[in-house]
Symmetry: C2
Subunit: 230 residues, 2 copies
């Protein structure tokens, strides 16, 4: 019997992200209506979580709460019961801006709990900002999805959960394949899974492989009883 026998697998679809533009791939949904229809298609195909970033009219990342509100309203109509997860990632804004959509009370929001390098810069998540975002999520009853770019981020998430600093159920996403952060490495993935199983056995987890690593990491996650991000 495999690790996933009988256990449903959550499919999370990140429809837009913060980086790709139409010039990279014309299919990237940028406008509100494109995002809603792309989410609708993903929902019909079986996605249960929509991970969303919003964009300005010039395609640059935005953290404008009005844009998030409009997307939320569209998703509620077109994708009934889908779990809406907004990004509080650092590419779309700086400091407290990153949490400006949390008062909309999305079901979930991404939460970084440490810092690391990205391909060309430092992904800065100062301890104070992390504590503030986690606290805002408690205020607005938003369940965080922890974005773990390194091993210490997984341990930090478990520690914060045990200390009561995270709203709702602990849910950790392993992010693999980002240049200068963690590569998509099977031995590391296995240790991540073991770390979750030994220290937070009741907590579900998922794995995201970036770019070329996506399908491979999804396969690792499904085989190990985890959930997936596409």
């Amino acid at each position: 019997m495999s690790a996933y026998a009988g256990k449903p697998c959550i499919l999370c679809c990140a429809i837009t992200g913060s980086v790709p533009r139409k010039s990279d791939n014309p299919a990237v949904p940028i406008s509100l209506s494109e995002q809603i229809e792309s989410s609708h298609a993903a929902f019909e195909a079986g996605a249960s979580i929509i991970h969303a970033h919003v964009r300005n009219d010039d395609e640059t990342p935005s953290s404008d709460p009005d844009r998030f509100a409009a997307l939320q309203e569209g998703l509620r109509t077109h994708c009934p019961d889908v779990i809406i997860q907004f990004s509080t990632g650092g590419r779309s804004g700086a400091g407290a801006e990153r949490g400006s959509m949390l008062p909309l009370r999305p079901d979930m929001a991404s939460l970084a709990v440490g810092s690391n390098n990205f391909p060309t810069r430092v992904y800065e998540n100062p301890p104070e900002l992390i504590a503030w975002l986690a606290n805002e999520m408690q205020t607005y009853e938003v369940t965080p999805e922890i974005e773990a770019f390194d091993l210490s981020h997984i341990l930090a998430a478990i520690r914060m959960h045990k200390a009561g600093a995270l709203y709702g159920r602990l849910y950790v996403q392993f992010v693999l394949g980002v240049k200068n952060a963690m590569p998509a490495d099977k031995a590391v993935f296995d240790f991540y899974v073991q770390t979750m199983q030994s220290r937070a056995p009741d907590a579900p987890w998922c794995a995201a492989g970036v770019g070329a690593a996506q399908v491979m990491v999804n396969e690792w996650a499904i085989a190990a009883g985890g959930h997936t991000r596409a």
Copy 2:
């Protein structure tokens, strides 16, 4: 037979560090003569590497190459053949300042290869600065000691070494027990050792436990065939 049977263990002594002041501990060597005599005592007691930071007259951390030069001269006289390792850490300067003592050609220098959180802030090591410091170390024939504050830093070090970006022999230090970075955790330590053994079996490694974790982490390192920092 234990892992360390017959294998000499390198003791590295960090005489000053960048944080503690006389008000924290009157024994912290701050002035040039205090640093030289403290190093001399460590050398007589068996230390083979002196890891050094320098301080301004007001005890704040400095990256002034003249202060490093004076220390280097004193160490050469008082501790013949000791391995001199200068810190390029981020508490003593910003940007290229951090490498301003490398033209002195110390035997070794510390090198961060990733970013992470510290107790109250982000320890920022942008990819461009890392590449510049590594390149300066090649220019001046300085062997880096990689400071691994998280798992991805170990993998980055091995990758950089294989790519020829690091001068000399690969030498990795696991730093454990820094709040908001990696805790002093035995399962993590064991995975670190396994990672080195499987991917860079010829590379020596050492482990530093910060504060209360120091002696425990030294014991783990010695028992696993590694080297130590005190």
